[in-house]
């Protein structure tokens, strides 16, 4: 699923300024609930363990599936022999997935599958599947793929031309540059590491399939099941009440889901097939790498003049690796040529702000280097070179306010002069994101007992969607949160899109608002005659329906609903323009200390200045911001998908050597959310993760005086950079 493509399409449809007039649907000027901190509805279920994730679904008669995968990065499948597996104890089904004569293109590529009555026996049986492979030449990294004598592993070549962009007069730009920086910057491949691995439970009833699936797109998953299995969409029912993390990697059944459904059909029993941690690292996507050889010029007064980049990256075996470059700042003369490089590794999938953390890093380190050339403070330098300010381009304000709040004036010039082995520094970075929404439907029932039920085929992937649906409904009805019931996470509910691109809040909340407003109008139509007024005279708040100018002239919500008798109010609503917006901006500051005798970086403080239009739930929005920052700390320092350069196999497909921050690694994090109600609802899931790694890298540079131009900031790089500076003066 190309999140960036989705986002671009939606950006085209959305204006970034104030939304169209929304009329009667407009968000309230003085909301009771919106933008306040509201506790997550499913908190109690999650903290008690009552919440049932896909991994927890236990169905009567359920058996367990296990996939057999290629250990080779590139091979021809010669034969697949299921016989011994089929005879193994407890085995109920087995299938070949990769036909003999075809190729596997990465370690972990699925080849066959079995299902047995216990998980242990399924694993035993999987190991009895006899696959004969003919290993073929493989590419373990970008250098191997791009080498002049590289084996041409991929049908149309190992390297494919990507985006190309040229603006202005590059030669003139460099001619006007007083200083030029000519360096290579890069970021690395990371995997999503969803704590709940990918997988599903499939159960057939004749030709009807129910699939509990860990997904960010319950409706799209149902559509994909139907297409892959050749059954009508209306035969497929996907359920995701809770899911344990997606981060962009869970937008359909994937191979394992279809395999699960087929095993279930063959065995005539429900099958649970959840990937294990190794499979999760190998075959559920990754953030592609990004490298750019950049030449950039700045005039003596600190104005950027020129930017030229050759960039490339790998998204694995045949997938793209694009990212925006340059990022944010105004380079009037620029040229950029990108290439996608294919290697024999798992294919990339959208990962939290696809392309932006990469483009940001490749630009922001350069910016500090250029700032040093003209001896300007990094914040002042950035202020000088920003695109024009706007509601979706608030960097100037965030730089200024953030600098004050962070204590930026205490920052020393590059290279901490303090004695001792611990050097401290500060860095900064800016980012943007789209986050627009559209296209969701919703349904509302108001029943005579006062129940208000809101239904939408969206899903809560940990973001708090369930809660913001309730907030919008309760706000509209003038009820407390407890007065509305929310039904989501089911593909039979009204249409909604997948949760990606930070589009869910902006897609779903307008649909809820419209449906609830229209439902309320229908209720007003019932109540008005009994009060001897017109429906337009009524308002709902504080659990009552009353005349606008006379609060005592009204009825309680419950009494109003009694008027419905046996015929409930049932209203469908759809997203419409005017309630959501697009385009967010943010700035982050980082402070880090570096032990120059060990090369170890410790992040001590982060400040995130972020907007997201109208904040629906302040509590869950802040959690998104904390989460994005911590994800980026991992990107900056710890996690790394490491392939053996000779065999092309992943050496750390676990959570031991695939490093992730723990409590003691997390710094003080200060989140400042800028509520912009006039812009409508905009997403926040991704923007806060874009800048942090760059700000940290700049803090490390400020601390040590040594520039590290690639992630992660592992001690070996820090020590090498420090040594380079010590030996040669600069690096």
């Amino acid at each position: 699923m190309a999140d960036e493509q989705v986002v671009r399409d939606r950006d085209v449809l959305q204006r970034s300024g104030a939304p169209a007039p929304a009329g009667k649907y407009a968000w309230p000027e003085k909301p009771a609930l919106l933008s306040t901190p509201i506790k997550r509805l499913d908190g109690p279920d999650k903290v008690t363990g009552r919440a049932r994730y896909t991994y927890d679904i236990n169905r009567p008669g359920m058996i367990y599936g296990k996939v057999v995968r290629s250990p080779y990065p590139h091979a021809r499948v010669v034969s697949v022999d299921l016989a011994a597996a089929q005879r193994a104890p407890g085995v109920k089904a087995a299938l070949v997935y990769r036909e003999p004569g075809t190729q596997v293109m990465y370690q972990g590529d699925p080849v066959a599958a079995v299902a047995a009555d216990t998980e242990e026996r399924a694993r035993d049986a999987a190991r009895l599947v006899r696959v004969r492979y003919e290993p073929l030449p493989h590419l373990a990294n970008v250098e191997q793929a791009m080498a002049a004598d590289a084996p041409q592993v991929f049908p149309n070549g190992n390297v494919r031309a990507g985006a190309r962009d040229e603006t202005g007069d590059l030669a003139a730009g460099f001619a006007n540059a007083a200083h030029t920086v000519d360096q290579t910057y890069s970021t690395h491949v990371i995997t999503h590491v969803c704590l709940e691995t990918h997988g599903c439970v499939c159960e057939w009833d004749g030709e009807k399939l129910t699939a509990w699936i860990s997904t960010q797109a319950v409706i799209q998953s149902a559509q994909q099941f139907a297409q892959a299995l050749g059954i009508p969409q209306s035969n497929v029912h996907c359920i995701t009440q809770y899911m344990g993390g997606g981060f962009g990697s869970k937008f359909g059944p994937d191979a394992q889901g279809i395999i699960c459904a087929k095993l279930a059909k063959q065995a005539n029993a429900p099958v649970k097939l959840m990937l294990d941690r190794k499979e999760e690292h190998l075959d559920t996507g990754n953030r592609p790498s990004a490298t750019a050889h950049i030449r950039a010029g700045v005039s003596s007064d600190g104005t950027l003049t020129a930017f030229e980049a050759d960039s490339w990256g790998t998204g694995g075996a045949g997938a793209a690796s694009g990212f925006p470059l340059p990022y944010i700042y105004n380079f009037p003369n620029r040229k950029r040529i990108h290439k996608d490089v294919y290697i024999n590794a798992g294919l990339q999938r959208a990962m939290r702000a696809p392309g932006h953390p990469q483009g940001c890093f490749l630009t922001e380190i350069l910016m500090d280097e250029l700032a040093d050339h003209v001896q300007m403070d990094p914040v002042a330098f950035r202020l000088r070179n920003l695109p024009p300010a706007g509601p979706n381009a608030m960097w100037a304000q965030y730089f200024r306010d953030g600098a004050t709040r962070f204590g930026w004036d205490k920052r020393h010039a590059t290279g901490d002069p303090a004695p001792g082995p611990i050097k401290t520094g500060m860095g900064v970075s800016a980012h943007r994101w789209g986050g627009a929404g559209r296209g969701s439907h919703a349904h509302v029932d108001i029943l005579s007992d006062g129940s208000a039920v809101v239904k939408c085929g969206t899903q809560d992937i940990g973001t708090g969607t369930r809660t913001i649906v309730a907030i919008v409904a309760a706000e509209t009805f003038g009820l407390p949160i407890s007065g509305v019931k929310v039904e989501i996470g089911d593909s039979t509910l009204p249409f909604s899109g997948g949760s990606g691109g930070s589009t869910t809040a902006a897609s779903v909340t307008p649909a809820i608002r419209v449906a609830c407003t229209d439902a309320l109008d229908a209720l007003f139509a019932k109540v008005a005659p009994t009060l001897g007024v017109q429906p337009a005279d009524l308002v709902a708040d504080g659990g009552r329906i009353h005349v606008k100018s006379n609060a005592s002239k009204g009825v309680s919500w419950k009494d109003a609903c009694k008027l419905l008798g046996t015929e409930p109010i049932e209203v469908d609503g759809q997203w419409q323009d005017g309630l959501s917006g697009a385009g967010t901006s943010g700035v982050q500051f980082a402070e880090a200390s570096v032990d120059i005798e060990t090369g170890i970086v410790r992040v001590t403080r982060i400040l995130a200045m972020q907007d997201c239009g109208l904040i629906v739930d302040k509590l869950t929005a802040e959690s998104q911001a904390y989460g994005g920052v911590i994800a980026a700390i991992n990107f900056a320092l710890f996690e790394d998908r490491i392939l053996d350069r000779v065999t092309g196999q992943m050496v750390n497909p676990n959570m031991e050597w695939y490093l992730l921050a723990g409590m003691s690694d997390v710094p003080t994090i200060d989140i400042v959310l800028n509520n912009m109600p006039e812009r409508g609802v905009i997403g926040i899931g991704e923007p806060p993760t874009v800048s942090t790694a760059s700000a940290i890298a700049n803090a490390v540079r400020n601390a040590t005086g040594a520039t590290i131009r690639s992630l992660p900031l592992h001690p070996h790089k820090v020590l090498a950079a420090i040594e380079q500076v010590r030996a040669g003066g600069t690096n």
Binding site: G49, Y55, E119, C194, D276, G462, G464, T620, A661
Partner: protein, 188 residues
Amino acid sequence: MKSAGVTSIATAVTSVAVPDAGAQIGPAVLGPGDVPVALTVNGKRVDLKIEPRVTLLDALRTRADLTGNKRVCDRGTCGACTMIVDGRTVYACSTLAIEAQGKEIRTVEGLSSGNALHRVQQAFCDVDALMCGFCTPGFVVATVAVLEKHPNATREQISKGLDGNICRCGTFVRIMEAALKAQGVARG
């Protein structure tokens, strides 16, 4: 030995062999097939018939429908499976069910009673110390264990006590707030 007729006793006596020095005296060999395993979980007895290779985590999740604690890394590195056994946190994925017999096992399910949340659970909800929630049961159990050992735990003690747990959504900041709040001491 059941009582039997004289004839059979005589037969039995004469057929009793002299114990062989190499005979299997000593501890029983259990498995590899299913064996009875009796666990005490949240104060209740859970009787299973499972292979010795089944971990405590898998035994409870797949044979006792106690799915609160999760399987994430299955290698003792992430803490999602954290349970309290005889008063100490363990990785249930790295514990054999057969070896958890005779011990007091507490899972996340045992912390609340009815709809009443444990104060740690309530604190997690109050400060939003969770997002997707998959790491949450493990963190809740680990936090309970920290506070049971150090009722007035400092930030450092909480950090060290929770360093065996990982969150991918990035809820650490609020988990720390929740742990401090659950002591009943409001922190700024």
